[in-house]
């Protein structure tokens, strides 16, 4: 495979993003009323921008990889990512826009008039943001490794540095166009190769056993196992081994392995015959990394599936980079229509990853053994088409993948850095914002180097679980329930989000190894979401005296159509807006001063 095209494509995407970021910086400086301008963004452009920011590495690479390894059950991920927007539309979209909140902590403060709840929400935003950034960096590392053989961490570092520079410079702020462009880039980067792959599949006689279980090799294939792994065989398997199996050193001998678990040493080459079933792979026991969540999924598939559905359906509304974008709609009605357009756009995008997953099961089934399943999307064009055409299509996919990492990572970094600057660091100056950006990126980067083994889409699923059990109760009850009190909201977020977070942390560190506890902790949403709601309701009911005095007026503002707004409320909103514009101007002035200080 020729790597030059792919590296060029990735470099082009990175360069374009930096350039547009730099231009955006210039534009957003000369546009004085930045927030007012961004409110005139129409539903269509805004929807493309939201989708562009939302479709991350997990969507671009992860889903196909999971489908390849675990079969069609994993298609619940894209369904859930899409349906999450429907739930968001039903309960949150218009009131959230009318609340005028720019971030989740803003919303908490506006609704409950409590600094404590605001800080707590901020902490959770940082946690969810980091959990979500982690797989973006890992995905970038994987992509670069597959494309060029560079070390694992390099791609993550490149994305981290580019995003930090762009966000710290303030460039990604106002650029709805960039995000919208990246949606279309990502769609093209998956759609065009997919069409060619389907043509290649058709000319191959359209084999369709990918839809049956389990996947099988279509031709004799040699697989190199890099790290020690356990093969679990349901039936006896005949395989040619060059390396070590079960401690025996073999040199190109054909052996017949009985059903059961077999340890394959690192560096071993296994040659499978045509038609052989692809065995399931587990991680070696000496591996310090977490046992895959796939194992608990195999034990309790129904529980895991419902946990996944609940987490993705309810978690979308709480993702830090999703909420921010709703403020750019001009009014509540437009926010609703934007959400419908988003549903259409991401739904259209999600028709593609399953195609790659199914073709991957046909043409690259050995990826389940090498642990690079997330790379299926990148490898398929070269594998199925080959030649210059395959290289070019592979380059297109690689560029699209990097667009996915960059857009989602910058949206998340922006949200996390904003919270860090506003609520954690001592002052709000530009210097602190930059410090916040570096901090926002440094933690997940370090984590991605340390916890490298989590499948990309799995890690995102965990972020969704935390968001669903903390922010979903806060938003839904905050918008629809008058008797919500600050202590109730705080307790609910702490108990729901905290327990989901601990469960996630326990899963990541590999405790407990297996059994029902592991399933419960690996898929926490099914118990942590009700727990969050229940705590919030019960504590609120037991503290009836703490209902904020302005609740009725705040709820009226959330729900009344804009044309019925009283003058008082309108002016209040205008004032908030002016304050924000003013803050931004001051910030820009400071940046300008700093720039002149630095430049010779």
């Amino acid at each position: 495979m020729n790597y030059t095209y792919a590296v060029t494509a990735v470099a082009l995407v990175v360069l374009a993003t930096v350039l547009v970021g730099a231009f955006g910086l210039r534009i957003s400086r000369t546009t004085s009323d930045f927030y007012v301008a961004s409110r005139t963004v129409g539903p269509r452009l805004n929807a493309a921008a939201i989708s562009g920011e939302y479709l991350s590495a997990a969507s671009f690479l992860g889903i196909a990889g999971l489908v390849l390894v675990q079969g069609p059950d994993m298609l619940w991920y894209p369904v859930g990512y899409t349906a999450g927007y429907l739930v968001l539309l039903l309960f949150v979209a218009a009131p959230l826009r009318r609340s005028g909140a720019y971030t989740l902590p803003d919303f908490a403060e506006a609704r409950l008039a409590s600094q404590t709840v605001r800080r707590l929400a901020g902490t959770l935003v940082v946690g969810v943001g980091w959990l979500y950034l982690l797989p973006q960096l890992q995905g970038a590392g994987l992509t670069l490794t597959v494309l060029t053989g560079a070390p694992d961490w390099l791609g993550g570092v490149i994305v981290a540095v580019v995003v930090t520079v762009i966000v710290a410079a303030g460039g990604m702020r106002s650029i709805t166009f960039v995000q919208a462009f990246q949606y279309w880039l990502k769609l093209t980067a998956l759609l065009v190769p997919a069409l060619f792959l389907i043509l290649a599949w058709q000319s191959d006689g359209a084999p369709s056993h990918a839809f049956d279980e389990p996947a099988a090799f279509r031709e004799q294939r040699t697989v190199r196992v890099d790290d020690t792994l356990d093969l679990r065989l349901a039936e006896p398997l005949t395989v040619t081994v060059d390396g070590s199996v079960d401690g025996r050193d073999l040199d190109g001998t054909e052996v017949s392995l009985p059903a059961g678990t077999h340890r394959v040493g690192g560096g071993t080459r296994l040659t499978f015959a045509e038609g052989a079933e692809v065995p399931a792979a587990g991680r070696g026991a000496d591996d310090a990394l977490s046992p895959s969540r796939a194992e608990s999924r195999e034990e309790r598939p129904l529980y895991a599936t419902y946990g996944l559905i609940l987490a993705t359906f309810l978690g979308t509304m709480g993702l830090p980079h999703v909420v921010v974008r709703f403020y750019t709609s001009p009014h509540g009605v437009a926010a609703r229509r934007t959400t419908v357009a988003v549903l259409g756009l991401i739904g259209a995008f999600y028709l593609l990853p399953p195609v790659y997953g199914a073709l991957g099961r046909l043409y690259a089934p050995e990826l389940t053994l090498t642990g690079d399943a997330d790379a299926a999307v990148l490898l398929l064009p070269g594998r199925m088409i080959g030649g210059v055409g395959g290289d070019l299509l592979g380059a297109l996919v690689a560029g699209g993948a990097f667009a996915a990492f960059l857009s989602t990572a910058s949206g998340l970094t922006m949200a996390v850095a904003g919270v860090l600057t506003q609520d954690v660091l001592p002052s709000r100056g530009v210097r602190h914002f930059r410090l916040g950006t570096v901090l926002a990126m440094a933690v997940p980067l370090a984590a991605s180097v340390l916890v490298g083994g989590l499948p990309v889409a799995d890690a995102v699923g965990l972020a969704f679980a935390v968001s669903a059990s903390s922010f979903c109760p806060l938003l839904v009850l905050g918008i629809w329930w008058r008797r919500l009190t600050p202590p109730g909201a705080a307790a609910g977020m702490l108990v729901g989000g905290g327990s989901a977070f601990l469960a996630v942390a326990a899963t990541m560190t590999g405790y407990p190894g297996a059994g029902p506890w592991h399933a419960l902790l690996a898929w926490p949403a099914l118990w942590s979401v009700p727990l969050g709601f229940l705590t919030m309701v019960l504590v609120s009911l037991s503290t009836p005296g703490r209902v904020p005095p302005g609740t009725a007026a705040v709820l009226a503002r959330f729900h009344l159509p804009e044309e019925l707004r009283t003058e008082e409320l309108r002016t209040e909103e205008l004032r908030t807006e002016e304050r924000r514009t003013e803050e931004r101007r001051t910030e820009e002035r400071r940046t300008e001063e700093k720039r002149t200080e630095v430049s010779p």
Binding site: G71, P72, D73, L75, W76, V79, T82, A83, Y85, L86, V87, L89, L90, F91, A94, F211, D212, E213, P301, L302, T305, Y306, I309, V333, R336, R337, T339, V340, L343, G344, G347, A348, Y350, L351, P354, A358, W480, A552, A553, L555, A556, H559, L560, P561, E563, L564, T566
Partner: protein
């Protein structure tokens, strides 16, 4: 030059609007603006009707999606069905549900505005 008959000025008679308003005519809009108990009742009624719209669509979504994992678990041989439903089949209903809800929510808001503005 002959005058076009349609351009002729016509005097429209009727009670002036201002007079109607000051005559103690019942105005919900003011109640909402001044945040009286009655005004809150209006907002509450809007919230209830919007919540009902949201919950209805949510119930349809739950009924549509909820049984699917059970169906797939009950029929492990229907792999192709699972591929088709999860890969393609669910997206159109999601978009249709969203459009249905938006139409309903916007109609609720229009009705509410008409009610309180007394048009």
């Amino acid at each position: 030059m002959p005058q076009d008959p349609t351009e002729r000025r016509v005097v429209v008679t009727g009670p002036p609007r201002r007079a109607r308003r000051t005559s103690g005519y019942y105005r919900p809009r003011t109640e909402i603006d001044e945040q009286t108990t009655l005004g809150h009742t209006y907002v509450r009624s809007l919230m209830r009707i919007q919540l009902r719209a949201g919950l209805t669509v949510f119930a349809v979504l739950a009924l549509l999606v909820g049984p699917l994992p059970l169906v797939f678990a009950a029929a492990p041989d229907a792999r192709r069905l699972e591929w088709a439903v999860l890969g393609f089949g669910l997206y159109p209903p999601l978009v249709l549900l969203a459009r249905w809800y938006v139409r309903r929510a916007e109609r609720n808001e229009r009705d509410f505005v008409r009610l309180v503005e007394d048009r």
